[in-house]
């Protein structure tokens, strides 16, 4: 009796949810059949009947399985093994996780990342908002030229610019020190001082990412209905009030996107420290991805693939936590 009621409920619900009558009938028939074998046969028949549709969506699943699911699963297996890429891998359980979590370099690397999150994530939201609003002013002259200039770093290789950055921030013959010398300052050891070394990394990251984020903001700003601004104008709203009470709330999804995107960007930063400081001085600019690369690829010795894989999963977990906390906070702020 109980099961019959349940069955009726689900049948009705399926019909009501817009699933075709034929499919509902199939489901009904499948449910009525008691043998699991016949149920399986029904499923196979169902797939066979719709094979062209399944064939059409298959490429995605095949590519996903080959290039995403399998590598992730294999990486997890590797994270439980000690392997140099040549000899037989050896199971070590959670030893790799234990080692990298207790490693002082891992602590240093996450501490660096935290610093970059604190500096770069707010800037990654505020600067594009500022530039976006300025570039959205219809009366601004040479708007197109400014937008183009701002977008140029997006299409420029970070590696190439990183080399230029090294020349800019060099100590003895650096361009910046050369400029500062004219006003009686310096020379500063930009690339080797534990504190100053963050300046080239932070400035390169902002320089490289600003154009794209501003483009996103501009897209968001231009999607806001002009009628709302006209209505606010009629009501006598000031420019600040219009921005604060109309633009900003309507831009909330964009802000959340920027927040999450810049967080992920910072936590997966690689090219900037790799080219500019190599993670130095004394690991002060070492980022997780650079460290994973160094030990996984054997950049400084024989590869420690298991340690690198374990560190990758720890980084992924950290990213999930940070992004979920961010999402939770923004929902709280938004009153949801």
């Amino acid at each position: 009796m109980q099961s019959s009621t349940t069955f009726t409920y689900w049948s009705d619900r399926r019909r009501g949810s817009g699933i075709g009558v034929a499919q509902a009938a199939t489901t009904l028939a499948a449910s009525q059949a008691t043998s699991p074998k016949s149920s399986r046969r029904m499923k196979v028949a169902e797939v066979a009947r719709h094979w062209p549709e399944y064939l059409c969506i298959a490429p995605f699943f095949v590519l996903f399985a080959v290039f995403f699911a399998y590598p992730i699963a294999w990486s997890f297996v590797l994270s439980l093994q000690r392997w140099d890429g040549v000899t037989e891998a050896r199971w070590v359980g959670l030893d790799n996780y234990r080692f990298v979590l207790n490693d002082s370099v891992t602590r240093q690397m996450f501490s660096n990342t935290l610093l970059y999150l604190i500096i770069l994530v707010p800037l990654g939201v505020l600067l594009p908002m500022m530039f976006g609003v300025i570039l959205n002013i219809p009366q601004l002259r040479f708007r197109g030229a400014f937008r183009t200039i701002l977008f140029i770093p997006v299409v420029t290789s970070v590696v190439v610019i990183g080399i230029v950055w090294r020349l800019v921030f060099g100590t003895a013959n650096g361009w910046l020190n050369g400029l500062l010398a004219h006003v009686g300052l310096g020379p500063y050891n930009w690339l080797k001082d534990a504190q100053l070394a963050h300046v080239p990394i932070v400035s390169l990251t902002i320089w490289a990412g600003l154009g794209f984020s501003t483009l996103i903001v501009l897209g968001g700003l231009q999607s806001i209905d002009q009628d709302i601004y006209d209505a606010a104008k009629v009501d006598g709203a000031s420019g600040f009030n219009t921005f604060w009470k109309i633009t900003l709330p309507l831009m909330r999804p964009i802000v959340i996107f920027l927040l999450i995107a810049s967080t992920i960007q910072v936590m997966t930063m690689f090219s900037q420290p790799y080219v500019v400081t190599r993670g130095g001085p004394a690991n002060q600019t070492l980022t997780p991805l650079l460290h994973i690369y160094n030990i996984g690829i054997g950049a400084t010795g024989a590869p420690r693939i298991g340690d690198a894989a374990a560190l990758s999963f720890i980084l992924s977990a950290a990213m999930f936590v940070v992004v979920f906390v961010q999402l939770g906070l923004t929902r709280l702020k938004g009153g949801e």
Partner: protein, 440 residues
């Protein structure tokens, strides 16, 4: 409504097409390539662009007309390792690995055993370089000796003359530092490099002194860490005196800012490897300001009473793997390239220091000149360095990572915030933990 699949693409035709395509793709696998390999052999050579072997290629191909060298202009060990992980798919026949990679891969048995070849030529090869290719745990040679990366003191005779100092035949590092201070006072130029990047580059000076003292980062088979022994501490104390003397430029010798300093006449001297002549001096010493024609080489200052006057930085070897289908041709190439006079001459002209001793005694070797060095016979100095090149500088898999750790730990020792003996013990313990992970 019934969905109908478009006509002309039935399941049957789809399967038929797929079968035809797979057959077409599979056929070349059973085709002529095997037959081709029986007569003519192509050896894939993993070396970077502009490599000494480019000069050996015509000599070898003339000697062995059925063998062609395919210079791949690729020397990325990560790519090479990927081919090993793929069970030899795409693994080159010949590669040019650094010694720590030779030691690491040699232990696994994946490298081609060339013991017979090396032993047959042992009287003509540098013993120090041979030792680098010897795998203690297997008792075999896993690579053929490549370039001997000895280190000497490059200096600008014009700047040292200007300071009124003549480089003596024999002196200590402390005497060198005193002289370098005078040179700096007179010319403003640095006589050492000491990058405070806190990485592997910070540690090079320490490795030079440690080499001179007969120490090493590990023991011969890499099972023990020895960097914090008495010699390691003595070497670090010497490096602190180098740091305190304030005669160093704070740049990495391989990077553009150091090259700019050479060009700007800010470098009066520096300990560099033999190959640095072509790598850093000749491209940057191009005018009077940068010391064109005034560069010289001397043996390193002494690090102690019994110390040798050279050190090591880099120095690859020729290796192959057990995946090669042409081991005999590979060994022929090894012998031609660095175990014969013709090959050694070609490599020596390029700028490396071949391990073939008859060449290092020859007129061809001693007559090599470079415009940046005027008429100076620098190779005579390098031959003396080879004579002192010891076989106790062990570069095991942990070597690179250990130097990175030492470089990071050095700065507090240099500024005096950490006691040297204590700092070395700490870094030694950390490397011991890391080294366990390299022991399989």
């Amino acid at each position: 409504m019934t969905y109908r699949y478009p006509r002309g693409l039935s399941r049957r035709s789809l399967l038929g097409g797929a079968a035809a395509l797979s057959t077409g793709l599979a056929l070349p696998k059973f085709g002529g390539s095997r037959a081709f390999a029986q007569d003519d052999v192509t050896l894939d050579v993993y070396v970077h662009a502009n490599h000494p072997f480019d000069l050996v290629k015509p000599i070898f191909e003339e000697q062995y007309p059925n063998v062609t060298l395919n210079m791949m202009e690729q020397n990325d060990m990560a790519v090479f390792r990927a081919t090993l992980a793929a069970n030899g798919e795409g693994t080159p026949d010949i590669l040019w690995p650094e010694i720590d990679a030779v030691q690491e891969l040699g232990k696994t048995g994946i490298l081609l055993d060339v013991t017979e070849l090396v032993e047959s030529l042992q009287d003509d090869l540098s013993p120090g370089k041979m030792q680098e290719c010897f795998i203690p745990s297997t008792g075999t040679y896993a690579a053929f000796p490549g370039d001997i990366a000895t280190v000497g003191l490059y200096y600008r005779a014009d700047l040292w003359d200007q300071a009124g100092i003549e480089i003596p035949d024999d002196w200590t590092w402390d005497e060198f530092l005193e002289a370098a201070q005078i040179v700096k006072g007179e010319t403003g130029a640095a006589s050492l490099y000491f990058p405070t990047t806190g990485d592997i580059h910070t540690a090079w000076n320490w490795t030079f002194v440690l080499f001179q003292l007969g120490g090493a980062v590990t023991n011969a088979d890499g099972t023990e860490i020895t960097l914090d022994d008495e010699r390691g501490i003595m070497a670090m104390e010497q490096v602190k005196r180098m740091y305190d003397a304030d005669v160093a430029i704070d740049e990495i010798q391989f990077e553009e800012n150091y090259f700019a300093a050479i060009s700007a006449g800010q470098v009066a001297a520096g300990p560099h490897a033999v190959w640095y002549r072509g790598f850093g001096i000749e491209p940057n010493a191009i005018d009077e300001q940068s010391g064109f024609g005034a560069w010289r080489v001397a043996l390193l200052p002494r690090a102690g009473d019994d110390s040798v006057r050279t050190a090591n930085l880099g120095g690859a070897a020729i290796a192959s793997t057990t995946y090669t289908e042409h081991p005999d041709e590979v060994k022929n190439f090894m012998e031609t390239a660095l175990g014969s006079m013709e090959g050694a001459v070609a490599c020596g002209q390029w700028g490396i220091l071949p391990p073939y001793l008859p060449y290092l005694q020859s007129e061809e070797w001693n007559s090599v000149r470079s415009e940046a060095f005027g008429d100076f016979a620098f190779n005579e100095i390098w031959t003396q360095a080879v004579d002192q090149y010891v076989g106790t500088w062990y570069k095991q898999p942990v070597f690179g990572e250990a130097l990175g750790e030492i470089g990071a730990a050095m700065l507090p020792m240099m500024d005096g915030s950490v006691d040297i003996a204590e700092g070395m013990r700490e870094v030694g313990d950390r490397i011991r933990t890391l080294n366990e992970r390299y022991q399989g």
